[in-house]
């Protein structure tokens, strides 16, 4: 009799178990969603709920690595709140502002700043007194000494500087010029938005520029991969190269004579790189560019523009030559170039860049700490070592000898990127790192329409000096 009943109900059992299984999946998904997906989704710019916390919490402070205040909320006597930025325009882009949709770290760490990890008893006490809880503080990796030096060195020129610690990925400085005073954002909002110098744009990670000769490092990397015999590469530079009806010259028509691959980098020899570019396999070249993050979403807490490589399979010889020397359709940001310099400095391995070092509650206890994480290798250890050696030559006898003979060693690559027909004015680039054998800091400097050569190199030199003094 029992068996009969079981037979009769077999299909019912199957249906019941199927639906119960379906619901277990649904519940599992909800748990997964809250554990792993919710945080990302909540940081969406469309989310208006974040500010709900501000009803109960006084927004926490943002501090530099020595816990100097970069942003804090001051509660006035009448209970109203003012967000104050003691360094004025120094940190305008990276720290950002907290009204008008928020930007920079103010936007990225909004939830942390509006979360209070005060002790349970303190919270209850405040509740009884109808007082707001105090939000947590975000301690950043930013170094005010380097930030100030880079800021001053750029002066009135438009441009950006990014300084990274290659061994950890800590971002020590991120400057964008022109800058503005975040204390005045509310008063000047209209004006800031209509100015034609895009003052609100963080040029460090949102600006898009031709990388110029700094890209020759990527071209050299691709050449090494396609030609294992690269140490025996030689080219006779006569100061210009003619290819059918195209003629490309070295800077100032200087003839560099017989150059090998390292010399080509050191002198930034355009003709040699045009020669290299003509022989490269576009598909492989594109892969190498992708491996060093062209066309990829760049790691980091602040949203960065994607760089583009722009060389397609059906590209003409002219395009190939231009791309090989960093002109063409390539676009990149100073931040991206800083990551490439940091990866070369760190033996090819890129450490995930980060700005938030740790979180403190209002009484100063550490709540959470970010540890350095590897993002992955952008190139092999051997390849990084060769590029490092070539970049040392740039300082020793190449285009950046002004950085030689200092108390610390430097490796780097200069760049001049043409952006208009006015050959007098070019974007000036420098990427590199110090203490070559065991690199301390990596830097990327870009100056828009700089006059003369070496403008970016000088800024880098000033920052390096500030670091070692």
């Amino acid at each position: 009799m029992r068996k009969q009943k079981r037979d009769r109900n077999r299909e019912f059992g199957f249906v019941t178990y199927s639906f119960v299984a379906l619901f277990l999946c649904l519940m599992g998904y909800i748990v997964y969603f809250n554990l792993f997906r919710a945080e990302d989704i909540l940081s969406s710019a469309y989310n208006e709920r974040q500010d709900m916390y501000a009803k109960d919490v006084v927004r926490g402070a943002i501090l530099d690595r020595d816990q100097n205040v970069l942003a804090e909320t001051i509660v006035n006597e009448d209970g109203s709140e003012t967000r104050s930025y003691p360094f004025s325009d120094l940190y305008a882009h990276v720290v950002g502002y907290s009204s008008h949709g928020k930007s920079g770290l103010e936007a990225k760490t909004n939830i942390e700043l509006l979360t209070s990890n005060e002790s349970f008893l303190t919270k209850i006490k405040r509740d009884f007194q109808d007082e707001k809880n105090l939000g947590d503080s975000v301690v950043t990796t930013l170094d005010s000494n380097l930030q100030q030096t880079a800021f001053d060195a750029l002066g009135d020129r438009r441009g950006a500087v990014v300084v990274i610690e290659p061994s950890t990925g800590k971002i020590l400085a991120m400057v964008s010029k022109p800058s503005f005073d975040p204390n005045q954002v509310d008063a000047l909002w209209q004006e800031l938005n209509t100015r034609d110098d895009s003052v609100l744009l963080n040029r460090a990670n949102q600006g898009q520029y031709a990388p110029g000769s700094t890209f020759k490092l990527v071209t050299a990397l691709e050449y090494m991969r396609e030609n294992p015999d690269y140490p025996n590469y030689y080219y006779e530079c006569s100061g210009a190269i003619d290819h059918y009806d195209l003629s490309i010259a070295c800077y100032g028509h200087t003839a560099h004579g017989t150059v090998d691959l390292g010399d080509s980098i050191a002198y930034s020899c355009n003709t040699s790189f045009c020669n290299i570019g003509l022989g490269l396999d576009i598909g492989a070249y594109e892969n190498t560019a992708e491996e060093v993050l062209f066309g990829k979403t760049l790691p980091g807490e602040l949203k960065s523009a994607k760089s583009s490589f722009g060389l397609t399979k059906d590209a003409s010889d002219g395009d190939k030559m231009m791309t090989a020397m960093g002109q063409g359709k390539i676009q990149t940001s100073p931040y991206h170039m800083a990551l490439i310099a940091a990866a070369i400095a760190n033996g090819g391995e890129l450490m995930t860049p980060y700005l938030t070092d740790y979180i403190l509650n209002s009484s100063g206890s550490e709540i959470e700490k970010n540890m350095p994480k590897s993002y992955g290798a952008l190139m092999s250890v051997d390849e990084a070592a060769v590029l490092k050696e070539y970049m040392t030559r740039v300082i020793n006898y190449g285009t950046a000898t002004s950085l030689g003979y200092r108390s610390y060693s430097v490796a780097g690559k200069t760049g001049t990127a043409e952006y208009s027909t006015d050959s007098e004015k070019n974007h000036s680039w420098f990427i590199g790192f110090t203490n070559v054998d065991n690199p301390d800091i990596a830097i990327s400097v870009l100056i828009e329409s700089a006059e003369g050569t070496g403008a970016a190199t000088d800024v880098a030199g000033a920052v390096f000096d500030a670091y070692y003094n």
Partner: protein
């Protein structure tokens, strides 16, 4: 100070719902009828406590007397429901009654918080619908020709759906119903119940291939009309209910496979045919990329879920009003935001417990017709729960159906309460059957005549 009370109430409410949910499943483990009854009674205590605490918070938030009155009215309704059922139908399943009240209670708490006027309307409809549903078990028990009316069921279903498709009022891109004298009626809600009766009576009549083809054709017509009026949720529910009933009635897994295959094919065709469906699928794939073209609702819902996290932000402390149709299709997200995901997961488990009880009743019944009715209604209920919760959590594309008994909506409330009434009627039938068997057994024992060995087959 209010903030503190809300914080504390949050934890108590979660604790109460966990205890309630636990008892929903633990009750099956008790053999002793007295302990079982005690446990079922304690469920009511937990519900009334939760209801009280929630309304204290709602009152502190608004400080309006009408909230207190409304609380008293709701307590009256729940008490009356529990008492009337136990007086008129002592054999009724108490667990189903308890869960029905609990789901209504959660819905009314959230609706009062979202929109007092809607909550009051919901309350009035709930009271009327419970009144009506009290008669349903009698009808099921006494009227024996219910299983003979298949032509009637089929005709009513097709005609009312057809009318909506032709004349219907458009809401959120789907033609759902008409408004008569200020009351909007969504026939598809009631048709779901009638459809289950149609299929059950048809299969009871015959399981020959010819009859299966005819029944399938009528079922397909239901689905087609619903798809044409772009009521995707109802179309899916009818489809799944039919496949399930067909499989259980015929006991042929082949039908299950063929049905699922045909359904998948139809889904692909419908996707390419209707812009309305495309929009929802795109919103599901990436609600943020399609934020301005349909992803808005799901994105807001996900913000609510994430903000609420495990414990919720506390009743009245969230921003569920930023979720579109928060009182209807997206009420689950509003609940999760303020009362927390732990509460929301318990809510899911209560729905699952309702379903298991429905299927339990189905398995105990003997007549094919009644078995299929319980199965069909149970599947109808649980699949709708799955569609709505899956939709608002982005587990599946959102189909715009309501959470039965919890969401605001008269037609849905009425049809679900009738559905519960029918199940109760079937439960009583089962108890009747058992009684008859017991009597027969006793009778046989009295006769104690082994020679007349005609044994009951059950």
């Amino acid at each position: 100070m209010t903030h503190l009370i809300i914080e504390i109430s949050k934890y108590i409410i979660i604790l109460l719902i966990i205890m309630y949910t636990y008892s929903c499943f633990a009750v099956y483990g008790y053999q002793d009828p007295e302990r079982k009854t005690a446990m079922l009674r304690s469920q009511n205590v937990l519900m009334f406590l939760m209801h009280l605490i929630a309304f204290i918070v709602l009152y502190l938030n608004k400080l309006e007397m009408k909230i207190v009155l409304f609380w008293a009215m709701q307590v009256g309704l729940f008490l009356a429901t529990i008492l009337l059922y136990s007086i008129f139908y002592p054999k009724v399943s108490r667990l189903v009654i308890n869960n029905m009240c609990m789901l209504l209670c959660i819905g009314l708490i959230m609706l009062t918080r979202l929109d007092y006027d809607k909550a009051f309307k919901q309350f009035v409809i709930a009271a009327a619908a419970i009144g009506i549903s009290l008669f349903v078990p009698v009808i099921i028990r006494k009227i024996k020709i219910l299983s003979e009316l298949r032509v009637f069921y089929g005709a009513v279903g097709i005609i009312s759906l057809g009318l909506v498709a032709l004349l219907g009022r458009i809401s959120y891109g789907a033609k759902l119903g008409f408004t008569i004298a200020g009351i909007s009626i969504q026939p598809s809600e009631v048709v779901k119940v009638i459809f289950v009766f149609f299929v059950a009576s048809s299969f009871k009549k015959s399981l020959e291939f010819k009859n299966i083809v005819i029944t399938t054709a009528v079922a397909a017509l239901h689905v087609l009309i619903l798809v044409a009026s772009t009521d995707l949720g109802a179309a899916l529910i009818i489809f799944v209910v039919y496949i399930t009933m067909l499989y259980v009635a015929t006991k042929k897994p082949l039908y299950l496979l063929a049905g699922t295959g045909a359904g998948a094919l139809a889904a692909v065709i419908a996707y390419n045919l209707f812009g309305h469906i495309k929009v929802r699928v795109n919103a599901w794939r990436d609600p943020f990329a399609s934020y301005d073209t349909g992803g808005y609702q799901v994105a807001q819902s996900l913000f609510a879920l994430g903000t609420g996290s495990w414990l919720g932000v506390g009743l009245t402390r969230g921003q569920p009003e930023t979720i579109p149709v928060a009182a209807e299709d997206f009420i689950f997200s509003a609940i999760a935001e303020e009362l927390g995901l732990v509460f929301a997961l318990c809510l899911i488990l209560i729905c699952v417990s309702v379903y298991i009880m429905f299927l339990n009743i189905a398995m105990e019944l003997r007549g094919m017709f009644y078995r299929l009715i319980a199965l069909g209604l149970g599947t109808c209920y649980i699949f709708q729960v799955f569609l709505t919760i899956g939709g608002v959590t982005k587990f599946i594309p959102s189909t715009g159906v309501t959470l039965p008994l919890v969401s605001y909506g008269g037609s849905s409330l009425l049809s679900t309460l009738i559905m519960f009434g029918i199940i109760q009627g079937l439960y009583i039938l089962r108890e009747d059957e058992e009684e008859t068997i017991e009597k027969q057994k006793k009778l046989r024992r009295k006769e104690s005549n082994p020679a007349s060995g005609r044994r009951a087959r059950h």
